[in-house]
């Protein structure tokens, strides 16, 4: 197990090299170089331009530029964002918190909601509540998050539901007391969190339901029932535990998608997270910011998968990694 983890960590290094060179290559495909837009911009002084040029060896051939970029990345310097007039790392750090706030909240909520619903559906298979829930889940999976978001926005505004639409804080946020701030933030988070949660609840619930149905058909469940255990004990103590196990993989994927997964929803719901940052970077041809986002997103995804594999091995003794 320990050797496996070490090997997986070592294996991340070539992956990151590949990912970074792919991001770099995409940037090279774009017309002009990272500084083209900056040269045209009146906001950027010549000193900044020259400093950038020296820092990233932009007058050198592409492979040297790449090496330089990687060297810089190692020291935590991802370049300069000319849209924000700030280092890329600083800009990303600002937004990471906002994105995580949303995605972590919706992840926790969706597990809390989906698991009991899935259990209920499986235990009462083919009852009317199961049929209704599965039907809703089917629709929940098929409806695109961003469209659900638009619908919610429409009803919120036209019916006057009173939730803020867009943004993260009210204008006078700075004057609020601590608790007022918390309440304000939650009110702003409400709609985007609902949007993100419904999609995840739908698919999680379907997984939980089918896993539990599989487990309930196993021989050991029959044995447990045969020796006179109550239905409660059979379901909650024996079956559910085994049915949740495969969901750990999904947990890992969700961890990996915490930064990149909510991008469209953030953009549609006007939430100042990483997704909307990426869009403005792409639209503004802010290349270092684009590359930084790609790499950070990829790192999250890789570690999410790694954590999923490790958790799976820890929780299920049948799985052995060499």
């Amino acid at each position: 197990m320990f050797r496996y983890i070490v090997r997986r960590f070592l294996y991340i290094i070539p992956m990151l090299l590949g990912i970074s060179s792919l991001s770099f290559f995409i940037m090279q495909l774009a017309p002009g170089d990272a500084l083209t837009t900056m040269v045209l911009s009146p906001d950027i002084s010549d000193e900044v331009l020259n400093a950038m040029r020296a820092r990233f060896w932009l007058d050198q051939p592409p492979h040297m530029q790449y090496i330089r970029w990687i060297q810089r990345m190692m020291t935590g310097d991802m370049g300069h964002s000319f849209l924000w007039h700030a280092p890329v790392t600083w800009v990303i750090k600002q937004r990471v918190f906002n994105s995580l706030l949303l995605t972590v909240a919706s992840m926790i909520l969706s597990w809390i909601i989906a698991i009991p619903i899935g259990i209920h559906s499986a235990v009462n298979q083919y009852s009317w509540s199961d049929k209704l829930l599965t039907f809703i889940a089917f629709i929940g999976v098929a409806i695109p998050n961003w469209f659900f978001g638009l619908l919610l926005l429409y009803f919120t505004v036209s019916r006057g539901w009173g939730f803020p639409v867009g943004g993260m804080t009210s204008i006078d946020f700075a004057d609020f007391t601590f608790w007022e701030k918390v309440v304000d933030l939650i009110r702003h988070m409400f709609l985007p969190t609902i949007v993100l949660t419904t999609g995840t609840v739908a698919s999680l619930m379907r997984y939980m339901r089918s896993n539990l149905l599989d487990v309930l058909r196993q021989d050991y469940v029959t044995t447990a029932r045969a020796k006179g255990l109550s239905n409660r004990v059979v379901v909650y103590k024996h079956a559910v535990r085994n049915a949740i196990n495969p969901l750990i993989t999904i947990f890992g994927y969700q961890l990996g998608g915490l930064l990149g997964g909510a991008a469209l929803t953030e953009i549609v719901m006007n939430w100042p997270g990483i997704g909307s940052l990426m869009l403005s970077a792409v639209q503004g041809k802010d290349y270092y910011l684009v590359m930084g986002n790609l790499v950070i997103g990829a790192i999250m995804l890789i570690f999410g998968n790694l954590i999923a594999d490790i958790l799976l091995a820890v929780s299920d003794p049948r799985i052995r990694y060499e």
């Binding site: 792919l22 098929a142 429409y154 639409v165 953009i267």
Partner: protein, 375 residues
């Protein structure tokens, strides 16, 4: 594999009587199973209708994709009447509309003007595969206009644009999937068949692409498209980008299947009789992955459609004035427009119905071809 099995006749002599005791091919069996799947059949018919609607957009749409009308911006959906003012049932007709509020674009029916809906009328000219025509299914006499689901801010008919946009939004899925599936098959097939370091290297390369969040990669790639592209080129480039993002995941699964198939005896047999390696991969191994490929193809198309819609929605996919279901929705991102003109959301419902139909249909196909894969 389900392909090689011959199912014993279930309901005895009746069947034998019908097809003379012939052994039904696996495809026929799958089709019979699919036909029994009610939701899948509904999905299939909805999809057929939608695709025909898009292909023959020129005929079904009353106006061309680009016909604007400055006097009818954000026109609300035209009400179609079948009861005449005298209270009798008549052929469908509409009233003329007048704008009563030019700021908020509020239109009201003008009951003095009556325009019957005419069928097979002469409308905007079009050319369909070289056939020049102006025949359209329905329309009303000028100066009135019929907006079945309303108009956008340039006074373009949303119903017509749904038809034309469907050409891009629906076919981007099919074409994109065809590209990424072929790459995935060849790549995964080669990797799985050869194994060893070739496999290792090829899979590591594929994993690099899998490891980048798909939507970010999409955004970054669409950013490098030069701004001066024509609409066809842009459509093709977006399709290629979508295919580029998706092939790696498919390749990985196909590789796994090929790896297990190539252990089987019939592969050893064809090696023994001296088949070349490309022949073994293409003729013997890949056909065995067919049912998986078909099932996954139907289930993967919605992903392509949604990606295109998402990209166009935020303005980096298909560009105005070309219609796509995604970019038609982008007007709805403006909250004022969204609340005043809720019919702007119609393309979203169409996307939703398409995705739902594909997943019903895909579920049915999966049950028919590969019952073990059921989740």
């Amino acid at each position: 594999m389900a392909k090689t099995m011959t199912e014993p006749k279930q309901n005895g002599h009746e069947q034998t009587y019908q097809d003379g005791g012939a052994i039904r091919s696996p495809w026929k069996m799958a089709w019979r199973k699919l036909r029994r799947h009610k939701l899948a059949m509904i999905g299939m018919w909805v999809l057929i209708v939608l695709h025909l609607f898009a292909i023959f957009a020129d005929f079904f749409a009353p106006y061309s994709e680009l016909t604007t009308d400055r006097r009818r911006t954000n026109h609300s959906p035209t009400r179609v009447h079948i009861i005449s003012p005298e209270g009798k049932l008549t052929r469908p007709f509409i009233y003329g509309y007048k704008r009563v509020d030019t700021v908020r674009n509020i239109y009201e029916e003008d009951h003095t003007q009556v325009y019957p809906i005419r069928f097979f009328v002469r409308g905007d000219k079009y050319s369909f595969f070289g056939i020049e025509s102006d025949l359209r299914l329905f329309g009303v006499d000028a100066p009135a206009k019929i907006y079945l689901v309303g108009a956008d801010r340039y006074g373009r008919d949303i119903f017509s644009r749904l038809a034309y946009g469907g050409r891009r939004s629906l076919f981007i899925g099919i074409i994109g999937l065809a590209i990424s599936m072929s790459i995935g098959l060849v790549y995964g097939g080669t990797s799985g068949y050869f194994g060893g370091w070739v496999d290792n290297l090829m899979m590591r390369i594929a994993e690099v692409i899998i490891s980048i969040p798909g939507f970010y990669l999409l955004l970054a790639l669409s950013a490098v498209l030069p701004p001066g592209l024509g609409s066809t080129e842009r459509f093709l480039m977006i399709t290629v980008i979508l295919a580029f993002i998706n092939w790696a995941g498919l390749a990985r699964v196909i590789r796994g299947m090929v790896l297990s198939i190539s252990q089987q005896d019939f592969v050893t047999a064809s090696e023994a009789v001296g088949c070349s390696q490309p022949r073994i991969i293409i003729r013997h191994i890949l056909p065995n992955t067919m049912s998986y490929v078909i099932v996954n193809a139907t289930l993967a198309i919605p992903g392509f459609i949604l990606s295109e819609a998402g990209l166009s929605l935020i303005g980096v996919g298909i560009q105005h004035p070309d219609a796509s279901w995604g970019n038609m929705l982008s007007e709805a991102l403006n909250l004022t427009s969204l609340t005043r003109y809720p019919w702007l959301l119609v393309p979203g419902f169409v996307i939703f119905i398409t995705v739902l139909s594909y997943s019903f249909f895909g579920d049915g196909i999966r049950d028919a071809l590969d019952p073990r894969a059921r989740t």
